[in-house]
């Protein structure tokens, strides 16, 4: 779960990384050695949420957005 939260944090703050998370998630699954369940969450609800984010997410909004995504991950993996 921690690895997935770290990935989403970077995807919020770095648009290039976000594009990889959205459109080549398999690369991250392999690189970060995510579990099959974590991979499902990345390619499912997290991808959907990332697609709704503005470009860029303003620094003042990082904390709120990252907290919301972390809650989605915790709920999905609990």
């Amino acid at each position: 779960m921690d690895k997935l939260i770290e990935i989403t944090k970077r995807a919020v703050e770095d648009y290039g990384f976000r594009q990889i998370a959205q459109w080549s998630p398999e690369d991250l699954v392999v690189q970060w050695q995510l579990s099959s369940r974590e991979a499902e969450v990345l390619k499912g609800p997290i991808k959907d949420e990332l697609g709704q984010l503005p470009v860029p997410v303003e620094p003042r909004d990082y904390s709120a957005v990252e907290g919301r995504l972390a809650d989605i991950i915790k709920k999905a993996l609990s």
């Binding site: 770095d14 648009y15 290039g16 990384f17 594009q19 990889i20 690369d27 470009v55 860029p56």
Partner: protein
């Protein structure tokens, strides 16, 4: 002016957004048959819809340029649909921000190199045989000023874009004699989703524009015009070159 690419078949990677999208639209308006190639299917569909308002001869194919089987299928699909391949624009790329070299995560290095350099290599590798069958062609690679000058916010990106410039030169030395011109463009800051995202704040791009000698950053259409020139027969005596398209930002003396 129109029909500068009349009857030519063009394949544009990264065609879903930014410079790639502007190129697709420009090419469609100049009589080309265009294949939009991108891994972002949603944005590809948007580009396709926009381009078909200009010309019916536009299609889209999903591709991750770092995967050889997908790249080969991308080229095959283009030839199946339009019968030949004359122009390849390698606009697919990604900018992942990174700390200084000693702290760069090996995974980030691989992500950037895999898309920006290996991906571009694979696209050329698949396209060149098809172009030779078509009697020649033009490849336009999109590098960056980050490949000409040091770019401190992402060393992997900077190195990958320098690699694109040299791949252009080396490939041109091998294929110009076979009728394929291979050139490169190094844009400065251009108002694309990637640049907006990488700036990490709306104010940052405004600051760059305010300090630019032209008082603005580049538009995707500025670069698409340069790509059109290199893709068309108007540049028939140019191969192995890199055109800097930064609006003169490199001419600003450093503040010492």
């Amino acid at each position: 002016m129109a029909d500068r690419l009349k009857d030519k078949v063009a394949l544009v990677t990264g065609g879903a957004s930014g410079i790639g999208r502007a190129t697709v639209l420009r090419f469609a308006g100049e009589g080309a048959k265009v294949m939009v190639a991108d891994r972002n299917r949603l944005a590809s569909d948007e580009t396709l819809s926009m381009a078909r308002g200009i010309s019916p001869d536009v299609e889209a194919v999903p591709v991750d340029v770092s995967k050889w089987d997908q790249v080969q299928e991308m080229v095959d699909a283009t030839v199946r649909r339009f019968g030949r391949l004359d122009v390849l624009v390698n606009a697919a790329g990604v900018l992942v921000l990174s700390p200084p070299l000693a702290e760069v995560d090996e995974r980030d290095w691989d992500l950037v190199m895999t898309t920006n350099l290996k991906g571009l290599f694979l696209c050329c590798k698949a396209a060149i045989p098809a172009m030779i069958k078509s009697g020649g062609g033009s490849i336009v690679n999109i590098s960056s000023m980050a490949g000409v000058q040091a770019y401190t916010r992402s060393l992997p990106y900077s190195v990958s874009k320098a690699g694109v410039i040299h791949l252009t030169l080396a490939a041109a030395s091998q294929y110009t004699s076979k009728g394929i011109r291979i050139n490169c463009i190094a844009p400065g800051t251009v108002d694309t989703p990637q640049a907006r995202g990488s700036s990490q704040s709306s104010q940052a791009l405004q600051d760059i524009a305010a300090n630019h000698p032209m008082g603005r950053i580049g538009r995707p259409e500025d670069i698409a015009d340069t790509i059109l020139y290199l893709a068309s027969d108007e540049s028939s005596y140019i191969s192995g070159s890199t055109i800097i398209a930064d609006g003169g930002s490199r001419t600003v003396p450093p503040r010492i």
